[in-house]
Subunit: 193 residues, 4 copies
DNA sequence: CATGAATGAGGGTTCATTCAT
DNA sequence: CATGAATGAACCCTCATTCAT
């Protein structure tokens, strides 16, 4: 043994420091996103922890409830949507396309919003989402691409329908069905003769 | 005792006799309809039995699985829709209106169809439902009230979206939201300029 | 709440921490051994957990199935038999004597082997047991203490009969009956005039 | 309608009379024998009733307990053994052969005897069985085909082992294993050099 | 007497949540 | 701070037994 090796009983334990905490959080988010999408909202939290490769206690440290995890997953989505909207004039169709791509997690939010309207974190996300949509809708209306009687609430309703339907459909048919659903809903919002 | 034993039995407390069979079935259906609507698809079957005022064994006798109960609830709805359609020339809007009124159970079917496509009873109901819709769609198309590129599959998709959304909405806002959603979806199916 | 919900969790009353893991495993094995012997193979697993003083969840963590518990109990027996055989030239009679002492668990294995031949763990134990018996039988045959037409399969059959019978007999008469049964079966394997 | 037909409201109900009771009893016995053999001692009594084509209440009328059914099945076996023994000088081997043919039900009795020694009906059957065996053993001993130290209890033990083992073995291997087991046990009872 | 539905206590199993290490 | 075992309530389902018809 070399002179440098410690002579105390305690084995040199890796101190992964606070960086590990952030890594765990990201692993949990990724695992949550995956499993919520493939297994549905009722996936056991223990499965999320296992997939992330962390203990269940750590999951609870980062996300004290199922809703907290769902909200965090959606928050990432929302980040992307906000960035997308912030970097150019965007149409409703484009936002719908993004939402469809994020459909399962969005559905989780939609359901979580309905089931946990009182949850503070969820409420905050709902407001953030509404703001993003508001901006796009205003531009869309200015461009004359919305029927006169369509309100922002209608748009949110439309998004809910779209996301909910996509989430229900089998992965195999999802692409085709999503396109058709998007077309129907968008057509329903356009100006009518 | 070695392998058999089994002194599990329960001395029945009260037994209203087989005359209660039909009454029990109806009570279970009513309880299932109520609780599926208010508590969601995941409502404990034991709660359904308790609400119906019957033992859990009776619930299992009448409905050997959760899907069987859901299917039975929807079958009642389907009966009403079929009768409605059979008694006159009906528009898609009218059928949508009925579906919206039956939203939760319809959603249950939509979800059950997706989750249990292989279940024989569900498949049968799905076909029955499709037939009813087909008839209405044909008439609707003949009257020129559908865009050329809309297929029967699109209609079913639209119904799924509509029912799913209604089911998610709180009872308080349901009436208003349902009307708005119906308008959007129907507009999306109409001929476009 | 719609499909997910799930507020089933139980606030743990007491938690002696992971240090209890090994202690729990041993307590479960001991409880399983006791209760399988006194109550038979159909003993409720909940009774085993209660006797061991652990929650039912812990039982399932350590032994995910009834067969797993039975196999673990027998594995301990097998350990002892292997050690015994490894520490000297042993006769079939001595091995029979050990098996008789372990009769109930042996029966459990015999039954489990028949009922769960496909279970991987059980199959492994069966093979291990067969190897031990093979060795002893070879020595016994070399010493001229077996009839010519007796095969290893016959020995295993004999062991099954012996263990099964002992397991069935009330504790009070077990000692005497075991001795008589052993004598009969061994005599049946000896060279005949 | 002819003059003979009754004009009262009550439809002529078939009165199957007491003959039906006996037919039901026989059907239940046959069903019990079948299912105990193929499904094991833990077979649901409702399955027995269904197989017999009678209501569960009738099963309870004829056999107020699982043990009563098992005992009745064995009693039929015992009848046949008694007849067989009564119609000629019979050897132990022949009786063993009969028992092996009846192995499952015999095992059921063996287990039932151990588990329900206090049950009056079971005790009576046990005594009847012992008497039959006694007679055969006496003749066997007189013919010099038993070792001097073998007692009637030993024979009963041997029968228990044999029956128990046969019952455990898969139907496919039963014939071969039964023959080998019988040979071993009989050899163990024969006079030794 | 027969029928077969009703009953409900348990048994197996899962999983949210806690907490000693 | 992380780990992962422990906990036990609650769920689903089965089935022995009763009893109105």
């Amino acid at each position: 043994m070399t002179a440098a090796s410690g002579s105390r009983g305690a084995p040199a334990r890796r101190n992964r420091g606070p960086a590990a905490a952030e890594r765990n959080r990201r692993a949990l988010l990724a695992a949550g996103r995956d499993l919520l999408a493939t297994e549905g909202l009722a996936v056991p939290l223990s499965a999320v922890a296992k997939r992330a490769g962390v203990g269940q206690g750590s999951l609870y440290r980062h996300f004290p409830s199922r809703v907290a995890l769902i909200a965090a997953v959606f928050e990432e989505n929302l980040d992307r949507i906000e960035q997308f909207v912030a970097t150019g004039e965007r149409t409703l169709d484009e936002v719908f396309a993004m939402l469809v791509d994020q459909a399962v997690a969005s559905t989780a939010l939609v359901e979580a919003i309905n089931a946990h309207r009182d949850d503070a974190g969820v409420a905050r996300l709902g407001r953030r989402f509404a703001e993003v949509v508001d901006g796009v809708v205003e531009a869309e209306r200015a461009a004359g691409r919305l029927a006169d009687d369509i309100t922002v609430d209608d748009i949110r309703l439309a998004i809910g329908m779209l996301a909910g339907e996509i989430a229900r459909i089998d992965a195999a048919e999802r692409a085709g069905a999503a396109a058709r659903a998007r077309r129907i809903v968008l057509a329903g919002l356009r100006p009518r003769p």
